[in-house]
């Protein structure tokens, strides 16, 4: 790919948020958008994620975002001209404590009031939704059939291919080493392959976004923690049709259309050392969770385990805004484990914000200023 030393906008990071904002800028008419990725597109957190998409949230903002995301994914293959592997088989939320179930019931009321028709379901209904599931120790469930998952690789590559058709340039194996700022305005980037001058630079660097922000002199409170995941060999469909998710049980588990079953949990101690290893402790722990929930799965083989980094913020909600002191420097990061499902909508919203000055879905409350002002947006429904 030929190297050009100027661009209208430079996007740092080739994960879902980077490719989504780049595609949407081009769609809104921007001619010269460049995406810089230090490894290859979808090699970081997006390509390592659990791939879930849901609108079963506990804050109004997230329910609205979630619903917009479900609707976006429902037409995304058509918009991008490539199958993104959407599979809507629902999320079955499992509560093991009374207070947890009360919270889920509150969430359902909120979701229903916003037009997302989640239901409270009984043990028998839960067993119908997920045959063979062992949940006698649970006390309640909620289910929404429109939740589901998509293929993170195909989704990201679909954005990349659609972006290329609109003239977006993608440079892989290109690491940003500095951000040029001149009199409180962003002027471009320096990279391992040369400089690019641009009046707009977007930080979509996922787990490394706090370091990229610092290159422009912007301090954000983000930190990154490692989460692990396992996947099994493909087996006949029907072993775990919905996403089984529990906040107190600390797990998520789902069979993909392809037949393999994927499972993960929130790690103890939240390792934040930027390594991406896989541990025996997790493999053993997750296998126990798996076989306890789905006893008949004990003969299914694990083929792979890996880890990825969540870019966390103090309230586990993303930062989407223009930097206060550096005009033209935008941030879209800190998704705290939900970047894949939100990316298609937040990328569009940020592109609209940049070009039109306003977005269909409001993002003003997601400025990082909220942390200094104490206006946190705490979300109760997070694994």
């Amino acid at each position: 790919m030929t190297w050009k030393t100027t661009a209208e906008a430079v996007v740092i990071g080739g994960g879902i948020n980077g490719v989504s904002v780049a595609y949407n800028l081009a769609k809104l008419g921007m001619k010269d958008v460049v995406v810089l990725e230090k490894n290859t597109v979808c090699s970081g957190s997006t390509g390592r994620c659990g791939a879930g998409i849901r609108a079963q949230w506990g804050t109004e903002m997230n329910c609205r975002f979630g619903l917009a995301c479900v609707q976006k994914f429902e037409q995304l293959s058509e918009e991008l001209g490539m199958d993104v592997g959407l599979n809507q088989s629902g999320y079955l939320m499992v509560a093991y404590h009374q207070s947890e179930f009360e919270q889920l019931q509150k969430n359902v009321a909120l979701q229903n009031s916003l037009g997302y028709m989640t239901k409270i379901v009984s043990h028998d209904e839960a067993r119908e939704i997920c045959p063979g599931v062992a949940v006698d120790d649970a006390i309640g469930f909620t289910f929404n059939h429109r939740d589901g998952h998509a293929d993170p690789f195909l989704t990201t590559f679909a954005y990349q291919e659609a972006g290329k058709r609109l003239g977006v340039t993608f440079h892989k194996h290109t690491e940003v080493t500095g951000i040029k700022v001149k009199s409180d305005k962003v002027a471009g980037v320096t990279t391992t392959r040369g400089d690019i001058d641009a009046p707009i630079v977007i930080n979509a660097a996922g787990p490394y976004s706090q370091f990229v922000a610092k290159m422009a002199g912007v301090e954000i409170p983000n930190y990154s923690e490692r989460h692990e995941i396992i996947i099994t060999e493909p087996v006949e469909p029907g072993v775990c049709p919905p996403m089984l998710m529990s906040f107190s049980g600390n797990y998520y588990l789902q069979q993909r259309p392809h037949g393999s079953i994927i499972g993960g949990c929130s790690p103890e101690g939240h390792p934040a050392d930027f390594t991406l290893g896989a541990t025996w402790d997790f493999l053993e722990h997750m296998s126990r969770v798996f076989t306890k929930l789905l006893p008949r799965a004990k003969g299914i083989r694990v083929v792979r385990q890996w880890s990825g980094l969540y870019n966390m913020t103090p309230d586990r909600q993303p930062i989407i805004c223009e930097a206060d002191n550096v005009k033209g420097f935008y941030l879209t990061c800190g998704y705290s484990g939900h970047g894949f499902m939100f990316g298609p909508v937040t990328g569009e919203a940020l592109a609209q914000h940049i070009i039109l000055g306003k977005s269909d879905i409001p993002i003003d409350m997601l400025h990082y200023r909220r942390f200094a002002e104490g206006k946190l947006l705490i979300e109760p429904a997070v694994v």
Partner: protein, 93 residues
């Protein structure tokens, strides 16, 4: 002349053909890991034992670089498929 090699299955676990691999290499997906994410080559039960070298050779040919310079991609544990029930019993047994 029609290319008869394009229908050859290079990844038997995921049934991916030589033609598909070549098509995506030509579009710029010219590392093993990118092809893996896109086509699932190397994600099946054999974890790339069958297809990895064949695909690396295609990358080498398309890019005009020696095999030794083609990145083999990531190898992930547990290397060999292991039953959940065995893993759940833990390491002491």
């Amino acid at each position: 002349m029609e290319d008869k090699t394009k229908d050859i299955i290079v990844c038997r676990c995921e049934e991916v053909t030589m033609g598909e691999v070549r098509e995506w290499i030509a579009k710029g997906y010219d590392t093993f890991d990118e092809l893996k994410r896109l086509l699932r080559v190397g994600m099946g039960p054999c974890q790339g034992r069958g297809c990895r070298e064949i695909i690396m050779r295609e990358i080498s040919r398309a890019k005009g670089i020696p095999m030794a310079e083609v990145e083999p991609g990531t190898f992930r544990p547990p290397v060999k498929p292991v039953k959940l029930g065995v893993l759940a019993k833990g390491g002491d047994n």
